[in-house]
């Protein structure tokens, strides 16, 4: 494997020494471009008290191209589909090499705090959300309690 770019080394060091509150991110020993991420559901959101697992991968052309991020824990959210893929502008067209892993993770956390059903990825969830928001929030809470439990 080619030597790890300085940029990735620096970002990794900072993620560990100065972690984002409510988020952990550790590189895999076998592949330093692959990270295991956990994210606490934001307070006063349907995902509160949940702990979500994500995977994050830095492609070869990072930071010119955005990291690839996916939820591993099942989640009921209009911008996250069944496979855990996330619809977020900074992960696509609005990516800039000036952004970092930590800024991306913060953006994802913000997306959990304020779902956007008008720009949906999971159409059925977005429809539920628009039709009956209180009910959709209930389902999201149920899923959080059921799937996003802390591991022993």
């Amino acid at each position: 494997m080619a030597a790890l770019p300085k940029r990735i080394i620096k970002e990794t060091e900072r993620l560990i020494s100065d972690p984002v509150p409510g988020i952990t991110a550790y590189p895999d020993e076998a592949n330093l471009r692959a990270f295991t991420v956990t994210m606490n559901g934001p307070d006063s959101s349907p995902y509160e008290k949940g702990i979500f697992d994500l995977e994050l991968y830095l492609p070869d052309d990072y930071p010119m191209c955005p990291p690839k991020v996916r939820f591993l824990t099942k989640i009921y959210h209009p911008n996250i589909d069944k496979l855990g893929r996330i619809c977020l502008d900074v992960l696509k067209d609005n990516w800039s090499p000036a952004l970092q892993i930590r800024t991306i993770l913060l953006s994802i956390q913000a997306l959990l705090a304020s779902p956007n059903p008008d720009d949906p990825l999971a159409n059925d969830v977005a429809d539920d959300w628009k039709k009956d928001e209180p009910k959709a929030i209930e389902v999201a809470k149920e899923w959080t309690a059921k799937y996003a439990k802390a591991k022993e």
């Binding site: 930071p63 010119m64 191209c65 067209d93 609005n94 000036a98």
Partner: protein, 581 residues
């Protein structure tokens, strides 16, 4: 920047609205459309339908992007410089009107959207020590780049950034996420050029007076913008489908041209069309507004065959090579069938490379299908593998699927096998002419090169005064042979779907004639090119000049009559297709 007021157009402005583009190696073509049929009737037919215009990518950028900016500067917005105008046009999707309106109605918003600052200070710096926040490298001795905002990054990062941004064809902004400033078009190229290996020919630059157009001549951002602009207007512009060709054709005026699939929904179109044609008896029940042409006889003279600036003919509707005598829907069925049956086709490829007599393997180099085995000297036809000498006789038909053979098979085998056999028969001929076309092209290329070096040698030594017009016949032969083969190739697709009506025999005879003259012409080309004749190839060319010219004419005529035969046959419904095959 006001010197840019004097513009030097790459091509004459008066003629820019018409066809004045010089093609690379061919004579100027002042026809709006270049059908393979030279009859004036067909030209007027097509021009009754639509008017087309040919572009190279470079001409397209010059006219629609650079000249648009130059015009704005000269006429409406002389206070702006060319770089800013290009950015405004780019931001507003190259609509000059929009630029003028926005400039006067909402100047501040326009400048902000375009990322144009009031004071400009874009710099590429040389630094002895620099630590870049993007790549985190600590450099000693590095170039950095910053726009007027002062967001500075190393040139390596900016270069990689530009490369990834180039794909979407949009304006490229400062790397900083909160910063909207745009990198001007010339600067993007300046950064690319810092990393470019190939040095441009200084002689070329020396003769070129720097103009607005030449300054942007190799601008990668404009090329990428052109690509996405053209791709976003699919019914108005079509890229030439020839490999490595970067020309396009614009539909300037559409009087009555009916285009099938503007939305690229090819499969949907196909199934719809197919189902209607499959069962003609249901035509009366079907909604006619959906397929208005089904009841009328097919008119292939309405096929929108256009040609690009370098003379590649293609169908504007299918965006596929000139497929006459086949109408578009037949072509679609055929392409689909060939895709579905590609395994069988591979089988043929693998099994037909031996001499039918001595079974030694034979390599086919040129395009000619009149083969002579190098081992046993047996002369045979590459297509039907029968003896070549019988091909001249009246009764022999290389192109015809033998009905007695078919009857025999029908008796013994299932229907399915016959239809496969039948398909293989036509597919093989289709494929052979396709690959022969490539062989012909290679051979003719070689001849052309030899002729050119011979001529320059002759004129250097003042030995003869051969002029280019004296060897025009070679180019004509090249064109006739390629076009003849193409028509021949598609005539086998035609044959595959053709119903067995009496007039079909006339079509097949015309086809056989074209086959014959094409192979004769191809044979001469191959002989001239034979390694044995290496040192006297130019002598052979001049010696065969007469034969080449007359065969060129014969091929062109044969091609025309085959297409005309198909055209009139279909119009008068003496020829019909059966798409259920």
């Amino acid at each position: 920047m006001s010197e840019e007021g004097s513009i030097d157009y790459d091509f004459d402005e008066d003629e820019a609205s018409d066809f004045s583009f010089e093609s690379d190696y061919d004579d100027q073509n002042d026809n709006m459309i270049d059908t393979p049929i030279e009859s004036p009737k067909d030209k007027t037919d097509i021009s009754k339908l639509a008017k087309f215009k040919k572009w190279t990518t470079k001409e397209f950028i010059n006219e629609n992007f650079i000249n648009a900016a130059v015009k704005l500067q000269n006429l409406q917005l002389p206070q702006c410089n060319l770089e800013d105008l290009l950015i405004m046009l780019h931001q507003l999707k190259w609509q000059s009107e929009e630029v003028i309106n926005n400039y006067y109605d909402n100047y501040d918003k326009l400048m902000n959207d375009c990322g144009i600052p009031k004071v400009k200070n874009n710099v590429i710096k040389e630094k002895l020590e620099y630590s870049c926040p993007i790549c985190c490298e600590e450099y000693d001795n590095i170039k950095t780049f910053q726009l007027s905002c002062g967001h500075e990054y190393c040139i390596n990062c900016y270069h990689s950034y530009l490369k990834t941004q180039l794909t979407n064809g949009q304006l490229i902004r400062c790397i900083d996420t909160s910063c909207n400033l745009t990198i001007p078009h010339l600067l993007t190229q300046e950064i690319f050029d810092l990393f470019s290996q190939d040095v441009r020919d200084p002689a070329q630059d020396f003769f070129e007076v720097p103009t607005a157009n030449s300054k942007y001549a190799h601008n990668m951002l404009l090329s990428s913008a052109a690509r996405s602009y053209i791709n976003s207007k699919k019914s108005k512009y079509k890229w030439c489908p020839a490999p490595d060709c970067e020309n396009l054709v614009e539909l300037v005026d559409n009087y009555a041209l009916h285009l099938d699939n503007d939305d690229d929904d090819f499969d949907e179109y196909l199934s719809d069309e197919e189902s209607t044609l499959l069962d003609p008896s249901t035509n009366n029940v079907k909604d006619k507004s959906k397929s208005p042409s089904v009841d009328r006889p097919i008119d292939i003279s309405l096929t929108p065959i256009v040609s690009c600036g370098t003379d590649h003919q293609f169908c504007y509707n299918c965006q596929y090579e000139n497929h006459l005598p086949c109408p578009c829907n037949i072509v679609r069925s055929w392409i689909k069938k060939c895709k579905d049956d590609s395994e069988t086709a591979n089988w043929i490829e693998a099994n037909t490379h031996n001499c039918p007599k001595c079974l030694n393997s034979i390599e086919k180099n040129g395009g000619c299908n009149h083969m002579t085995c190098r081992t046993c000297n047996y002369e045979f036809c590459w297509i039907c593998f029968k003896e070549w000498s019988i091909h001249g006789s009246q009764f022999f038909k290389c192109n015809n699927f033998d009905k007695s053979e078919k009857d025999a098979i029908e008796l013994n085998q299932k229907q399915k096998r016959v239809s496969l056999q039948r398909y293989l028969h036509y597919y093989k001929r289709f494929a052979v002419h396709e690959s022969s076309m490539k062989g012909d092209m290679k051979a003719l290329d070689k001849i052309n090169q030899r002729m050119e070096s011979f001529m320059s040698e002759q004129s250097k030594q003042n030995l003869s005064n051969l002029s280019w017009t004296d060897v025009q016949f070679l180019k004509d032969a090249f064109k006739a042979l390629t076009n003849g083969r193409k028509t021949l190739k598609w005539s086998y697709c035609f044959g595959f779907y053709m119903k067995e009506l009496i007039f079909a025999e006339v079509f097949e005879q015309t086809q056989e004639h074209l086959n014959r003259v094409v192979e004769d012409l191809s044979k001469i080309v191959e002989e001239i090119n034979d390694k044995k004749n290496n040192d006297r190839s130019t002598e052979l060319i001049m010696k065969n000049k007469k034969a080449l010219i007359s065969l060129t004419n014969a091929v062109t005529k044969g091609q025309q009559s085959l297409i005309q035969c198909a055209e009139s046959g279909l119009k008068e419904e003496r020829l019909k297709f059966d798409l259920s095959i």
